[in-house]
Each structure stands twice: as structure tokens, then as C-alpha cells.
Symmetry: D2
Subunit: 350 residues, 4 copies
Amino acid sequence: MEFASDNTSPVPPQVLAALTAANTGAQMPYGNDTVMEAVRARVRAVFEAPEAAVYLVATGTAANVLSLATFCPPWGAIYCHRVAHIEEDECGAPEFYTGGSKLVLIDGDHAKMTPEGLRRALGFTARAGVHNVQRGMLSLTNSTENGTIYTPAEVAALTAEAKAYGLPSHMDGARFTNALVSAGCSAAEMTWKAGIDVLSFGGTKNGLLGVEAVVIFDPTKAWEFELRRKRGGHLFSKHRYLSAQMLAYLTDDLWLENARRANAAAARLSKGIAAIPGASLVHPTQANAVFAAWPRSGHIRAQAAGAHYYLWPGDQSMEGPGEESLAARLVCSWSTTDAEIDAMVAAVRG
Amino acid sequence: MEFASDNTSPVPPQVLAALTAANTGAQMPYGNDTVMEAVRARVRAVFEAPEAAVYLVATGTAANVLSLATFCPPWGAIYCHRVAHIEEDECGAPEFYTGGSKLVLIDGDHAKMTPEGLRRALGFTARAGVHNVQRGMLSLTNSTENGTIYTPAEVAALTAEAKAYGLPSHMDGARFTNALVSAGCSAAEMTWKAGIDVLSFGGTKNGLLGVEAVVIFDPTKAWEFELRRKRGGHLFSKHRYLSAQMLAYLTDDLWLENARRANAAAARLSKGIAAIPGASLVHPTQANAVFAAWPRSGHIRAQAAGAHYYLWPGDQSMEGPGEESLAARLVCSWSTTDAEIDAMVAAVRG
Amino acid sequence: MEFASDNTSPVPPQVLAALTAANTGAQMPYGNDTVMEAVRARVRAVFEAPEAAVYLVATGTAANVLSLATFCPPWGAIYCHRVAHIEEDECGAPEFYTGGSKLVLIDGDHAKMTPEGLRRALGFTARAGVHNVQRGMLSLTNSTENGTIYTPAEVAALTAEAKAYGLPSHMDGARFTNALVSAGCSAAEMTWKAGIDVLSFGGTKNGLLGVEAVVIFDPTKAWEFELRRKRGGHLFSKHRYLSAQMLAYLTDDLWLENARRANAAAARLSKGIAAIPGASLVHPTQANAVFAAWPRSGHIRAQAAGAHYYLWPGDQSMEGPGEESLAARLVCSWSTTDAEIDAMVAAVRG
Amino acid sequence: MEFASDNTSPVPPQVLAALTAANTGAQMPYGNDTVMEAVRARVRAVFEAPEAAVYLVATGTAANVLSLATFCPPWGAIYCHRVAHIEEDECGAPEFYTGGSKLVLIDGDHAKMTPEGLRRALGFTARAGVHNVQRGMLSLTNSTENGTIYTPAEVAALTAEAKAYGLPSHMDGARFTNALVSAGCSAAEMTWKAGIDVLSFGGTKNGLLGVEAVVIFDPTKAWEFELRRKRGGHLFSKHRYLSAQMLAYLTDDLWLENARRANAAAARLSKGIAAIPGASLVHPTQANAVFAAWPRSGHIRAQAAGAHYYLWPGDQSMEGPGEESLAARLVCSWSTTDAEIDAMVAAVRG
């Protein structure tokens, strides 16, 4: 009963097999391996973007902050949701990498910015000329930190607000594929066709050991990205092992299959929890995470049964006298089993 | 009728006279001038802080951000009000100087944080260990950006919240003396006795050409401050001309006298405006700035009569059909005359 | 005939087996995996340092620059050899991570600083008080960029110069184990017993996919390191896969065995090349890299036979009329075979 | 007998008079004062550069590092002489402002780079692609830190090397006017006509309280400079007092007159010292500083007579048994008198 995060999960055997296959003979380092050529071609095909620059790094934070630093100057405002990973979970890495830009936080239900909220923030920035930070770029997360998704149309509506000021748009796609299979659209439709300029294309949470691709749709910035990656210490010498993972990911639809499994697991879990008397969903379940609330006794039962998950937000406590409702985040992964889900639901139900 | 800002005002003759007096013979550079010895002694006496480290810089932003960078690590959160100068008017200088810290914005009426708001923000920070920025320091502005003041007791209540986590506290005192004479307390009571560790002690807005002192009450950090000042390009070679200004400021109570005049002007203006039918104060007038609103026709008359001031917030427009109320900021300085004030009130009244 | 770098080599089967073994069930992310507990214990045992803080990152640059940034302030001078990796091969990552420190370059034969050279540089720094950068820290590479090693006594002599000013010392040990088995001393003797405060303990060049440990002998700085690692984007979510590699490395002396094989290969190659008429060593062969020079025709033969290596320094050219001597760097790894070596020697000899 | 530095000198009465003249009524802040319009026009006229962007800051370090940061990316190498002020006397401010660029130090007699030395350094940079810092920009000082000057032809020869790689060139002109009157050329010939893109045009050392202009000959970068100046805390609110100084400087040839007096003083001093038996010049005297060496007894006599100057380099000592020669730096300013010079020469001669 593992629902703490999708990053607690192992990787499918295909991924380890790919590492083994890559482990023969010499390979040029630093992204000059032959496997990377295949990755580049494959990513471009998947995104229908033959000119895109494609790079691999090993963490989602690296993918995000290198993307932001490449597209936003030090005096730029980065518009993101108040609960965005770049705001809440990267310990100021965006500020560090950009040289001191400012994250401008936008509210919105279920971790989704609205065009109106973004427009208001854009209008407010730079109202005082040189005295303020300047408009920098947009960053949105898909699927979001609350397990919801932006549709391509919603993405396009947000990037249009940014483009009205000539600003680039970044998508934090740590769970990109979960959003993609949920929306039922193509990778191109979800990204550059909707106005995204640079994508953190996550692999780690969806079945890899530790690889994220950065896809830069306009390659003008590619060399700057390479320099920033190097200066950040994120250029791998034995790069072939990143390449091999990403190639396995994009082979035989493993990436899509993993995301479909995770999303299906979340749907099953969501349905099961929601049907319990006294339980309710906190956010709609649209990807691989369930946000739900139920009375304290259900949490005590679940944890006694060995369930791993977080109360969310974290300032709630299992301790307490009464039966008030406590909210939780339950994240499913490609490896979540129906048995785990059913056991979880049964434990909560009691 | 000059109410655009206190930084549009000239300086009193004593200050120019002090420059002339300092302009004889050779003086050691970089703060080693003999005048600075007198300044140091005088500031320590004024603040009843014989151990305090005292430095001069030429802009308020420099005073603020060097103070912040000295006391807050790159991964620290700086707690300040949403409309703080460091957030709104320094183009990201705090993020630049600190190496990427994050300003955590706290709401509160009339530009004043409340202990509850600060406590909530402090509790929320670092909830996720290494993944979040860490608690860094408090920065409050006195007098505030809305022309209000914190009393010593209010300062102490806020710094107590910071100290509960072992955090240092900074006061942006670009208009410190205006707050001081309004509160009617001593400089010590307003600062270190109320828990302030480092003060930006403003001179420029209150009658100098361009000098601010940084007063560090615990001198442990003094050498780091000196290095940061040098690296910031804020160490003056012909430092005597900064020293001379500050010494004149603290001689014969010029600093207090200037602030009293500015505050009295604001009080007279505030009273005059508030008495006009249809006009009202937006914030209490407690220092040298008046925030008030009155119908559009009054603005048209005032500006036609040559009044200089800003609509505040800036997204209002003089253009428009009706008689709706428009809010304005009117700042008085040591050089504001009763005649200007009375002419302004008369113009608004019509 | 692969001598381009030790980072072009694959990894031993034990390492892949360890990944497979680690790939079962859920594991807490971000270094809280159970494997990491074993790694921590093992590293502490190997270094006879029960209090040491131990962290894993995935690249050598990350290990180096996070170490430097943790121990050196932005205004500090980092003393290193002119050909140090941190100076020549990290695209300014040290300056980026430290917030703008300055690398002070020290000359010395065979990529080794001398105590005299270091002493001179230390004496020169900070001669002008606040106007100069201040003395920061020492960083030495072992084995060096020229395939030589510092003995523990030589390390101690250098760190003693740093300690005379109270400065910490870092060892870039991307090829630490090659130095260790060459010197025939213990890991403790090579590091903290010789005055090293923080070590980049390399795994990648010596048989791992991509893992380096940072060993901080005085754990006072541990939390700051963790924050800097997170902000740098170098904290892995599926950290177990780093842990597993490092544990395999330190099991059954794989790390030592790999280094012995690489060093033995280099010794065989060095001896073979040196015996060729017209060939000579440029630097003594003390670890796993051979720096030698021989006439152009020998290079033409070697490359025609499929040898991979770099002319070193890189401004030499294979093109040219005559038979002048061209210098080369030949790096051996754990996977270099005697057959490769002998073929190389034969090709050069002609 | 004041020869410690040109920054120990006072300012001419015209400068204080200009401050007084500027001290009437209200003036818009932050560079929007009416005096600045005149300054801008005057600087453009002086430099025959009608499109140049002109900004004022208060310290030479600020002028230099804002210029460098505007033209050099964080991963860029800045080529300068080993004894350049930006390397030796700014405590790492260039690294701080640029976000971690690297100063590449070039040797050359009398603090002057040679085209050959620069060419060699340029060729060496970026030899390893993304692994190295990249070629960034050139920075040369005129007059130099050793009291010599570059002629326009020499400047052009150096900037031509930079331009061969498409790099911009900066001139640190803290003592620009001393170089100008020494070379006998126009300001345009010394700068943009010789390939300079951005100039730190010093006023402080040549008779102002604290003002330097930054002249950007290609204004494309102007807005970025303004943002960096603001973020650096170098935008003055009561900017009129900077403007007034600079306008006085450029009125009635005060700048040229001051420099001529300082240079003439240095020439007289240089001639006087060089004529003393046992004394000799260390560097040619081409601007306002004399570098000379003479026996210890002469130093003892000079200092006993009240002379202020520095032994240069600073590791020499007045203490010692014998009569060995000690080198010194003697800087003249606009206010140096013939009487001081003659007394100095007499004291050294004994």
C-alpha cells in the first residue's frame, strides 16, 4: 500500500535491460554517445518537432531550473501557481539558477492558474519601470501538483497571455505523460502547438531511474542551455546510461503504458475512496494522484494496515480527539497494483 | 506644490556647508577619513549602542540589500510586507545580493504586518525539510510604504516571532526618523531594544544628497558587511563627502528637525484634505505621507494648478467620464511649505 | 584501443546487478532509502571516520562545486593548480556555485602544486584588506590531471599551508582510488589524516554509471551541503539507484580492484611506449593515465589502427610535414585489456 | 606631501558651486532631473557619439562591473591585465555582478597587455567546447595601474584581437582623462574609434566627489544596463547631485585642466626623483603616477618629512638594515602643488 509518491516506485525490467544493453564497449561521453542520437530522433518524432533541441538531465529540478534560467533574465518575473513545484519544492533553485529572478505566485483552484489571474499579474508587473522586476516568463505544471490537468486549450489560453507580452512559456512536465494520456491528445498538441517553448519532459516519476528530457522547441537557445547545464554540473560523462533509459522509455510506448497504468490506478482508488461514507475528493482525479479527505479513524486504520501516504497539507495531525476529516494525497505509479488499491480502500472504509 | 516624493526635495544649507568644510586638504579614502570617526561616535551615541558597527552607503537599496545579504543565506526566506520597498521597488536587488533568497510576502492593513500573519508564514516555511527554502530573516519598513508607523511595541511583537525561530530582524528605515518623531521614542527603543539587529538608517529622503547609514547592532557580522559592500561597488573612495553629510545630519538635531517638519506638513495636508467633502483618507497619516482619495474633478483642478503627485495605486487614470474617487499619494519633505499645502488643499477643494 | 578517457568505459557486471537488486518494492526517496544507510556506514568504515557526513551526487563537477561552495564564501580565493579540473573543465561552475569566488592558479610541474607556490599565493592574497578577495580554501586533485599523485605527506604539506591561515582543504578525487592504490596508503591517511576537510570521492571514472560521494569529515557543514545540493538540483528522488552503485563499489573491494587494474594497464602501456625509440614520457605515470610523446608517424599508425586518444595539449595537429614529436594523453580504465595496450604499443612502434 | 592616491584629494570649488546651484526647488529623481539632460548632451558631444547611452554611478567599481555584467555572460572569460583594478582591487565584484565569469589574466610590461598576449589567451579559451568558459570580452585600463598609457593605436590593436572573435571591449577609465591629455588625442579617438564599446569614464579621481559616467557607444544594451544598475543599488534618487558634478566637470574644460595639472605634477616629480643618484623609475611616467625606486634612507627622510605614499609592491618593508632600493608609487592629483613636489624630491635626495 504505497501511495507516498510516484518516486518511491521501482523501474520496469525493460529499463534495466536497456542499461545492460548499453553497457558494452566504449562510448563517447557527455552526450556524444550513439544512443543519444536515437533519443534525439525519437523525441523529435514523438513531438513532431524536427528542429527541437533535446537534452537529458537526471532530476526534475535540474530540468526545470535550467529551462527557466535559459529563458528568463535575472530581473525577470516567473509566473507560476502558488503551489508550483518550482515555488514550493526546489529550495530556491530557480532563484539560484536564474541569478535572482522572482517567482510571482498566482492563485487558482486545484493548482491551476486562470488566464484572468495570469493577466492581472502580468499587468501589475513592471508598473514602475526600472524599479520593478520585469515580465519574464510563464511556467505551468502539467499534470499539476494537485493531480489535475490542463487541456491543450487551457495551456494555449495561458501561453496566449504570456505571448501578448512576448514572453516564453515553460511546462514543468515531471508528470507530463500522465497529463497527456488523460487529455488524450498528442505531445505536440500539449506543447508547442499550445504555445509551449520549453518542456521538462519527465521520466523519473513514470518509470525511469533518473532521467528527464528538456525539449526546446525553438533551438536558438540551445547552446546557452548546454553551457548552463555544464555550469550546473548536470552534464553526465557516462551519458549513455541516461540515453539508454530514455530510449527504453520511448520504445514500445512504455512511457504511455506506464502513465496509463498509473492514471487507471488513481481512478480506481479515487472511485473507491469517494464511495466511502464521510469521504470526499479534495481535487478532481485527472492524472495519477488522488486528493481526498475522510475521518480520522479511517486514517488510523489505513496506517495500521501499512499504508504509506502523506496528510496534505502537512500541518494536519493524526493525533487528536475527534473524528474530523483529514485530507491526504495518494499517489499511484506504474507499479501500483489493484490489490494495493483495494486493500487501501478497505482499510479506510473499515 | 511638490508632493511626488520626498526624494524630489533639495537639501538644507547646513549639508552643503558641511561638504565645503570637509573639502580641505587630503583625507584617507574608503571610510578611513577622520570625519567618519565622528560619525561613528555620533551614531553610537544616538542609538545608545557603543558596540554597533556603522557604515555609510549612498542609496537606500544598497543599505537594504547589503543588510539582507549579510544576515540571510541564499536559501533563506525573507519575511516582508507585500508592498515592502524590497519587494516592489528594488528590481530584485535582494534576490541578486543574497544569491537567490525568496521574499515571502505577508499581507496586513496599511502596509503593516501583524504578528499573526508573520507567525503563520513562519510556520508554513520549511514544512518539507530540505525541499523548501528555510526560514531566513524578518524585514519591516518604518515608517511604512503607506505612511503609517510601527510603534516600538509593535516592532518588538514582530521581532519576537522571528526570534522564536532564532531569526534576525532588519528595519528598512529609509524614513526612520519620520517614524521616530511620530512615535516619540528614542532611536534605541525603536531598534535594538525592540529586537532589531540591523537598520537601514535613511538620510537621503530626509534632507541629504545621498547617504544612508547601516547600523549593525551585533558587530559580529561587520567584516562580512564590509566585504559585501566592497563587492557591491558601494565603498566610496572619497568617503569624506558621505561622512560630512551624515555628521551634519546628526548635528544640532537636523535629522529630527527635518522629520518633524515633514511630518507636520503631512499632518496639515492630511487634515486639510480630509475636511473636504467627498475626500477621505486611505491610510492614517502617521509620518510624512498622505494617502487620500477624492473625486476626479479635484485631481483635475490640482494638477491644473501645478500639483505634482502620483495616483496610488498606479493603475488608476485621470481620464474618465465620471466623478469617481481616485486615490493619491502625497509625500511631504523637510522643504514642504505651508503655502504649498494650503494651495493644494484649495485646489482640491475647488 | 580505447584511451580517450576513463569515462568512455562501461561498468562491471556487479554494478548492474546491484541496480537490479535494488529494484524491488518501494523505497523512500531523496536519500532516505535503506541502501543509503549501508553506504553511509561503509564509507565511514573505509575512511575510519565515524562522524563523517556522506552524500551522493551523480557528477564529478557537482561533487566538486558543492564542496567548494559549502566551504568557501563568495569573496574567497580558491587555490588550485593551473590545470585543475575546476579551472579548466567545469565551465565556471565553481564561480557559479560559490556566488563568484576567484580561482587563484598555482603553477607546478606535473600538475602538482608545491607548498612554496601555495605559500606565495596565500601571502599575496588579501594584501589590500577589503579591496581584495580573501583567502578562501585549498583544492587539490588526486590523482592529478597529469596522471601523477600526491602522497599523503605531500597532501599534508599543502594542507598545512592552508591551515596556517585557518583555511579548509578540498580534494578533487575524481580518480581518488587510482591515487590511493598507487600510494599504497589508507583512505584515512590520504584524506583527513593529511588535513583534508572534504573529499569528492569519485566512482564514475572507476566503474560506476554516474555516482560520486562527497565525504565531509567535519559534519558541521553537513546541513548547508544538503541545502546546496537541493538548490543545485542534485538531490535524486529515486536515490536508491545511486546508493546501490556506491554500495557495489565498496563491496568486495571492487573500487580498489578496478583502480588497480586501471593503474596496472597504464603502467604496462607507459613502459611499452617509453621503450619505443623516439618516444618519451611527458609526465611520470603514477596512476591510470599516460602522458607521452612520440613522432608523428607513430600517431598516424596508431590512429589508422583504430586507437582513440587525445593529443595533449590540444593545440597540436596531426597534420604537418615532419616527424616532430607530438604529445598525447592515454587514459586506461578498469576495462582496458592487455591486448589493447599491446596493440597500441605495436602500432606506435610500427 | 600627499602622494598616497589621487582619491585623497579634495574637489575644486567649481564642483561644490555646482552642487549649490543644483540645490534649488524640486527635481525629478532617478536620472530624470533636467541637469542630466545637459550631461547627456555634453558627454555625447565630447565623445562625438550622438547615439551613446550615458549613465552616472558613484564609484569606479560600480561603473566597471555594471559594464562588464552588461556585456559578458556568466560563462564568459574577461581578458584583462594581471594587475588590472578589476582583478586586484574590487574584491571579486566582477565575478559577483556577472554571475560568475572568469577573469583571464594577461601579463605584459608596465601593466599593458600586448596583442600577442591577448591573442594567445583568446586562442586558449574554449579549446574544449562546453567544458570551458567561453570567450567573453576584453577589459583594458587607461591610464594603467602602473601610470602608463595605451595610445589609440595600441587600444585599436587590442580591440581588433577581441573583434576577431566578435567580442566587445571595455575601457576602465578611472583615470581616462589623464590618459587622454597624455596621448593628445580626442575622446572619440581613444574610445569608439579605437574599438571600445563601453567606457567607465572616471570623475572621482580627477576632481569630483564621487561620480563616474558609463558611456555605452552602442545603445542596444542600454536598457539592460539600467536594470543592472537598479538591481545593483546604484540608481540614485537625488540624482541631480551626480548630474551637477559631471556637468561642472565637463564645463570650461575642468576635466582636461585637472588632468593636465595632475600629469604635469607627475612629470615634475618623476624628473626630480629620477635625477637623484641611486634612484630610478620603475615604470615610465605617462600620466599622473610615478613609480620609482630609491635607497631606504631616502624613504626614511621622506616619511620623516611627512610624505604620504605607498611602497609598491606592498610586501617591501621600511625596516631593514641596509640601503637597498625600495620601490614606491607616488600619485599626483589636480591639487598637487609644486611646493609639495619639490619638498618631496628634496627629502628623498637628502
